[in-house]
């Protein structure tokens, strides 16, 4: 175990699009990060799933690096952050926010697969580093940021929150791209 008291900074900051797809057959949702000029909107078969484009928004991805020991934490498994406003007493995230009180703000780190059927979510190491990173910079007394993985939500598809996302800013770009693709297909 490292003895370093990490001091985290953002590194490897990538600008792109978070693309959200839904399976026409089973209703599953999936998302991925694209650095293409236009966000991909293609429909395609993948095993038992038939993925349909549901939407996209401009997003950023980053990793964290320790300024002291240069350890890097890869956050490629995190698709975004959501400020939780959940008040469902059956949801662990809502219960955590209630327990922590008014100075605590719970943000949910969203992974690519909302169903978590494959058992994957944002890594524990990533969550720990995100918590330290956002709290080390806070100056408001009594304020605390708590970052939790989305597997803690009782249902991430129903969970109430405010996703930190630049929605709508590139709708015209997406329409242009779609028109361009249709033109190329003839």
């Amino acid at each position: 175990m490292s003895a370093c008291k990490h001091r985290w900074s953002m590194t490897n900051i990538r600008q792109g699009y978070l693309v959200i797809e839904g399976c026409f057959e089973c209703g599953a949702r999936s998302s991925f990060f694209s650095t293409e000029t236009f966000p991909p909107i293609d429909e395609y078969q993948e095993g038992k799933h038939f993925w349909v484009h549901l939407g996209n928004y401009q997003a950023v991805k980053f990793d964290l690096v320790c300024d002291l020991c240069r350890k890097t934490v890869n956050l490629s498994d995190m698709m975004g952050l959501m400020l939780s406003t959940c008040q469902d007493s059956d949801c662990e995230v809502a219960r955590l926010a209630k327990r922590e009180g008014p100075g605590a703000w719970v943000y949910v780190a969203l992974c690519a697969d909302s169903t978590h059927r494959a058992g994957r979510c944002v890594s524990d190491e990533g969550i720990e580093a995100l918590n330290r990173y956002f709290n080390q910079n806070i100056k408001a007394p009594g304020k605390k940021i708590i970052v939790v993985p989305c597997r803690l939500c009782s249902s991430i598809d129903k969970c109430r929150g405010i996703v930190i996302a630049d929605t709508g800013l590139t709708d015209l770009d997406a329409q242009t791209a779609q028109a361009e693709r249709q033109r190329q297909r003839g």
């Binding site: 953002m10 900051i13 600008q15 401009q58 997003a59 950023v60 980053f62 952050l81 959501m82 400020l83 008014p102 703000w105 943000y107 956002f134 910079n137 806070i138 100056k139 408001a140 304020k143 940021i145 405010i162 996703v163 930190i164 996302a165 630049d166 929605t167 800013l169």
Partner: protein, 109 residues
Amino acid sequence: MKVKELADKLGLKAVNAYKDKDVESVYISDMVSDIITAAKANSLLITLQTHKSLIAAANLVDVAMIVFVKGKTPASDVVELATKAGIGLFVSEADTWTFARKLAEIGLK
């Protein structure tokens, strides 16, 4: 410089009750994905955006105050969230460039 002093010098209209924090830097952005990677704690954020996602991002990085330029006014649920987060919301009729110049003129750089 404190939030209140800054607001007084610039003739800003306060939208909510705010905490009078120190303002240590300035950041201009209309993208929340940019704000979470570049804005600093106790900063003044200048923006055109008035949606809730902006407050979620500003709160995450502990922004002290937000100035909506060109007279943009946020909705009541946005104001409520910012107030809960202790973030001062202000409106300026100036455009972004003009407002940024005013900040430099009063010595905030």
